[in-house]
Symmetry: C3
Subunit: 349 residues, 3 copies
């Protein structure tokens, strides 16, 4: 248990927790998953890799300073929203979305505050949803991402270029035909976009990182990306947006959340997850169009809205087997406990 | 009790539950009310009548597949939001708002998914509001209506015309004078608009359907429509919007909800309901103007917001006698139980 | 205890409760604070002073009619949102924002209804947040302010001029240099803007009113205003908006809420409050830009959002000592009880 020793270390522990924070973006409480994901980001841009670590560390440190529950800190739960806040702020204020730019000092202070606030928001949303046994997901990131992105455009000290990245489907051409790269690039980039990486190879490396901890999770992520991409194509979405992974990243997250992680994987929850992925792909377009007049990106709002709408009422539906967030580990483990619980109903849970 | 046999039937039960779902849009847990309402819609447009049934059935079937509580399914509670989602999607994507158009296959799949999602949203919002003993009302419909309407405009496979229906008061002329038809048509259409029916005769037929199950509910609905129309006229709202029933449909729903259904009807709650109807008429204009830049209709959001604001805190006000959603049947019955409870405080509740 | 006799008086009590309502806008449950604040407003405009009283009285009377808890009524808790709703409606529909205009009869009816609805909204939001021991703050005002301001612009009977007041930073020049008045006027007006008073002297008088009841609260309010103003200057915000107190009023409220009132004042909560004030200043700009396309002012939404995000999860952070709203009196008293509680842990709380 060398890794566990590392995790408990007084000073080096933060490295473990930060890596887990990176992994938790895609539900993986595992430092190796986090490391592989960071490598995937690194081959796309060292700036994003550094910013991802900075954000996750800032969120985690805030939790430590405020004396949050150590178990949650160690699971990386105070890091993943901070990582996303930091990535989003750099991505949408850089002239080149693909590689990002090294942030100024003012911007760095700003994104550290954003990551810190995401830790407080995580605790607040967790408190609100606690009675319903539903996790905050990436809502802290979405809220703070929007709030901090708006303000950034109006301060002189922060030199925000024009938002280089299209944020809505109607900014893409509707006449381009779908081709082979539409598919393999679109599916890979769908995973990449979860971390704001416009790079399909990065996407597949992230999937490998997920697969190290849970093959089912990696499979559901891939399935979600495929479903999102296919639904967009079937309903005639613009090729550029599909290839960019924009229809798929929320679908991938929804499929992972519902397909085994927060619901025990059964045929019922499998189809429930596919339903959620389809709806997430549609609603990405919806929220993108809603936000376009104010120039805001969708972030992962669609994933959070769809997953909440489908999970908060989960106890009303006997066809589903909920996994409370505090017990959710991996789809494999969640399912094993459930099957064993059914076999030995009188045994300890 | 022939009707009750029908309700329990293994295969025909769904017909009963779907009809109740139609009735539940206006708080009537009664298949005959649902049938009369459908007839009212039918004389305006057979397309809408069919879509209304399709949506209510899709929502109800989703609940059955997910193994929701049978008592709620039988009361039609998983049908009314689905009916409204389906109606809204057809109404706002048809070239002719008044009659609607037969949806394409892609659109039909899309609206069935929307109705299905409304069932999940109903369970989620019910869970969130459970501790406060407040019902989800039509919020599932409003949320999903907005989300699904946005996306629809951006998919090639769904051929959405320009939104034919004005959605905001400033799209109407302010110089037209109020005349007799402003009144009798405006009041009737206020009831019709609850189901997206631009037809004042349909509105009065719907009221008859309501009256079959509860005369007080029909009376409060009529009163709400009158209040909404009168307030709009008093404050100088545009004639076309008033005659179209746009100021009145939220007011009618608020008056029904507060005037006997979720609060025992007393003089206090009567004036409370009138207050709510007045505010609903004003705020229809407010939300219409807010949503106009993005071309979205108000739906019944005003009714939900006002009713929630006035009901969630109900236990703080001793002047009101709350009726928990699970016990709310008809204004008449709610009141009888309350009066009897006061007479025999030691008896069974 | 002359004042307490006054407070219990059958008919004159309402005067005491209304004055407390004015004080509660800045967390002061004290009629003298309310009186001094009203004097501060009066030297700027007698119209606003009268409207402030009218709104607070309307909100309080509504609570009395609905038979709300007398203790809450006596603490002025049903008055402060009504006062703000009334002030906002007059401020943003008057040709001259600075002095306001005497409202028409229709407008007066409208703002009384708005103040009354704020009382119901207060009860509802208090019920929703009750389990988390967090107060509704000024959210009832923000919600109803927005809803009622929108509608007002579309009714003929209410003669709303063009909104005279700039509502967003980009409506100010970015080239004006910061000068001495930027500072002393900006800080004072930050306090004034809490009550929509574009007058820095009024701001300092309000601070004196606060200081009569709690010196720490006055100090934190001043600190918040300074932090908000300094942060805006540091990040290059426009001079006109800074001098107008627009960056500072949310920061001042957040600093008061977190620095001693809802959290026991310690070094931890002091820095927590400063953090909140910094973020509130940034996010004022954010929400202002978000709302500008629809012409809506920010009101105190930033304060509520930041304070909620930082308070709802407070029990997750052992570095903070929460004060439940029902026990929050003054920062001095909150701290004394906490220190005594630590000394005599077995004694009565």
């Amino acid at each position: 248990m060398q890794l566990d020793d590392f995790r408990e270390h007084r000073f080096l522990g933060i490295i473990d927790w930060t890596l887990r924070g990176v992994g938790q973006v895609v539900f993986q409480n595992n430092p190796l998953s986090g490391l592989v994901i960071l490598l995937g980001i690194l081959i796309n841009s060292w700036i994003y890799a550094a910013i991802c670590i900075l954000g996750a560390a800032a969120g985690t440190l805030t939790a430590i300073i405020l004396r949050a529950d150590r178990a949650l800190v160690r699971d990386g739960l105070f890091g993943f929203n901070g990582a996303l806040v930091a990535l989003a702020l750099v991505a949408f204020t850089s002239e080149n979305f693909r590689t990002g730019a090294v942030p100024s000092l003012a911007m760095t202070a700003y994104l550290i505050f954003g990551a810190a606030l995401s830790t407080m928001a995580f605790a607040s949303i967790a408190a609100l949803l606690g009675p319903h046994k539903v996790a905050p997901l990436t809502m802290p990131f979405v809220l703070i991402g929007w709030l901090f992105l708006f303000a950034v455009l109006k301060f002189d000290a922060i030199d925000a270029g024009p938002m280089a990245k299209p944020v809505s489907p109607d900014q893409f051409s509707y006449t381009a035909p779908y081709m082979l790269p539409t598919w393999y690039m679109g599916i890979g980039t769908s995973i990449g976009q979860i971390f704001f990486q416009d790079n399909w190879i990065t996407g597949y490396i992230i999937l490998i990182g997920v697969g190290l901890h849970s093959r089912i999770a990696a499979g559901m992520g891939l399935l979600g990306a495929i479903v999102g991409t296919a639904v967009a194509a079937l309903f005639g979405g613009p090729e550029g947006a599909i290839r960019d992974g924009l229809f798929g990243y929320n679908a991938a997250l929804t499929a992972m959340a519902l397909g085994g992680f927060f619901l025990v994987l059964t045929w019922n929850s499998f189809f429930y997850a596919v339903f959620g992925a389809i709806v997430s792909a549609w609603l990405w377009a919806s929220i993108a169009i809603f936000l376009k007049p104010i120039g805001m990106p969708v972030l992962t709002s669609t994933f959070v809205i769809v997953t909440w709408l489908m999970l908060i009422g989960q106890y009303a539906f006997k066809a589903l087997v909920p996994v409370p967030p505090a017990e959710a580990t991996t789809p494999e483990h969640n399912r094993r406990r459930y099957v064993e619980g059914k076999r030995h109903p009188s045994g300890p849970e």
